[in-house]
Symmetry: C2
Subunit: 477 residues, 2 copies
Amino acid sequence: MKLYEQVATTLKDRIDLGYYHEGDKLPSVRGLSQEHGVSISTVQEAYGLLIDDGVIESRPKSGYYVLLRQAPPELPATSSPASQPLVVAQWQKLQHMINEYGSQETTKLSLALPDTHAATLKPLTRLMAELSRSANRNVLDYEHAAGSDLLRHQIARVMVDSGCRIHPDEIIITSGCQEALSCSLRAVTEPGDIVVVDSPSFFGSVQAIKINGVKALEIPTHPETGISLEALEMAFEQWPIKACLLTPTNNNPLGYSMPDQNKIRLLELLNRYDVPLIEDDVYGDLSYTLPRPRTIKSFDTQGRVILCSSFSKSIAPGIRVGWISPGRYREHIMMVKYLSSLSTPKLTQMAVAEFIAQGYYEKHLRRVRRDYQRDRDAVIGWLKREMPEGTRISYPQGGYLLWVELPEQVDSNELNTRAKARGISIAPGTLFSASGKYRNFMRICCVNSSNPALEKAIVTLGQLSRELMAQTLLPHE
Amino acid sequence: MKLYEQVATTLKDRIDLGYYHEGDKLPSVRGLSQEHGVSISTVQEAYGLLIDDGVIESRPKSGYYVLLRQAPPELPATSSPASQPLVVAQWQKLQHMINEYGSQETTKLSLALPDTHAATLKPLTRLMAELSRSANRNVLDYEHAAGSDLLRHQIARVMVDSGCRIHPDEIIITSGCQEALSCSLRAVTEPGDIVVVDSPSFFGSVQAIKINGVKALEIPTHPETGISLEALEMAFEQWPIKACLLTPTNNNPLGYSMPDQNKIRLLELLNRYDVPLIEDDVYGDLSYTLPRPRTIKSFDTQGRVILCSSFSKSIAPGIRVGWISPGRYREHIMMVKYLSSLSTPKLTQMAVAEFIAQGYYEKHLRRVRRDYQRDRDAVIGWLKREMPEGTRISYPQGGYLLWVELPEQVDSNELNTRAKARGISIAPGTLFSASGKYRNFMRICCVNSSNPALEKAIVTLGQLSRELMAQTLLPHE
């Protein structure tokens, strides 16, 4: 065996043993050459061999990476929701899910919860402790209704990565993204109005629509490119639509990011039909690749896009720090925010501002982007192995949510009921539609694949799905 | 001079020098006897002399107190608002006030801000720091939508003091009282509905009514006994009223607490006409005398009263911890709260829960109740001395807000504009009405009378008021 073959074999073994994961960056050529006491060109030959074997890939100007050994999953089909505005149903199921949140024993795949135990969050809790103790007791006073100055400056800085150049005064701090969405929706609609959503669509948005007395018009949505612009244009022609509410980047639940050209075309449509867009970007910073995709807001020159986001998914949900960049609707949105909750708690705003300003946020993102991509791949692997044939899975390029289409016989509400008896919860598909569609879909959160409970939960979901299929078939035999 | 006269003179001197303030408790008889090396009966004789001189009073089973040397102020008259439902105006003035919140240099009498520098709050910031650092990182996770279990238990315990016996499950934690009021209002009304308020009425409630598309019907209100029940009954007969929104205890801005018999009669009316009550009790715990007044909720056997409160006024506003005890409307209010902001930040909930559980809240209340009563008396004294003749002042029995009726010629919006140029802000009366009434009224916050800036501000307000009166008179001369 030649020297470069030996090096290649060693590397291959390490990959097989899981020392390097799929998508991981491999050591630099110089580093390996030092480690193995071989020449640079020997390492290059070894890497060349592994590329030829389809084990790794070279990314220009970046380095060598372990190749994904599994093909992307088979994706769900483009959705075909009801073609008229609907009053949103399904509240009771959601309520059920909320009420169960407290239960400690469950493997909760149902909620979109980030990894709050990441080591890179340690500076945040330290900052919170330090700020709590500061002598001037700032943290006990009201914050300005629009939010902390420092935080708004830092958010403006972070938003540059998504292509936005926004002045801190054009930012309003909220209690998480839900308050951002809810206030925006209240500001631009009135009861009886029609709002466009993608389909499937995040249940928090869908239900916020319901509670405002507004109707939801669901538009067919592709699992990779997002909302169908053709269908949307038809809808604009047909209905007096007052707003669009979309999650165009690292969508929840489908995982898609709309290509830039689609984002631009969408904005053109909005301008032509004079419709505001509420853009939910809460998963935007969790894109696996850099630079992160641009927001639609970044293309907007008319102040038409209301960008809503938060650090609930990218830092931690319990801190409840979100924001709105309200465009031309600032005055009205500010009023709604003020009368909804006056202001957002001060301590967490100050802590997050310092966390970003001191460079910890970027460091944290680097860490979790890699982790979540690893988690996605691991869980997709298990789903492929464990779920019944015919299962289709989304293939997100950011975040930590998977949208899973089960065989038609599997009712995910029933699956959830049975899973709960085994200490596992999922988010049933019907939650993600105004009309109760997606009966045989589920959304699962795939954070922390190194926890054995996660793999075990997928095994259980596979067994239960097969049980349900068998029982559905029984009467027909 | 006899021995008891000497002791009396010493005490009198201490009072005159401000060592003991009006309303302060004096040392015990035993304590004084030890201090002066005199007999118990000598001290009793000394106290007797001071009582006869009208300097102190004896309160049965409590001790000796410095008597209030000034008579209560002349109160504003019962209000006579417009007698039909109105769409609320005045948003722009409020917006102005909000936007100015950040300005550091102002003596802000405009906002209802408690003393966040009280020594008795030190354990709170310590708890916040400790909890931030706790190893399990609990503080970063979502709290249950209804709020922390421990906190809800503690609130249920605190509410016993207001006569309420409520199970922790009947409590929903919110981001301050504003979110509590806003969610309650959204749950029980629809756009176009009519809601009853007292008059004057807290601008946060009035504007929350506006933003829900609801109309406000203002009811005449007495400065000592609150809303006129006769007028309310007439309103129930005349209009299809969907809810009442009142602050029956330590009212903002008027300061009244409805007598128990009025609270009971009000509840009877609500039951008879099948109308829910949103009871804002945010100043309830700040009553100067114990036991604190009962809430209307405490008399409610039908689940008709939605109690809204928070620790923003009794602990600190920046922590944003409020709550709702929603009665029979729980399910709907829970849904509105969830879709407004998912859940309330965890850290501050945990810190407040421990603050109460460890007995610090009671200790803090004892301290601030005394301080705020002292502040009230001091500021009323200055107002009487400095403001033009004809000025009337409310006489609250709790909290730290004064409602001041200025001579008719004084437009408080203009007064505010001029005061701001001198670094002082007030809350103009028109903010407290749907129709822009109370043009010659202002609300001022009288916390921290030991700060010389507060007395100086009152002096300035007096000068500016007289200026305005002179200018108004000029054209007629």
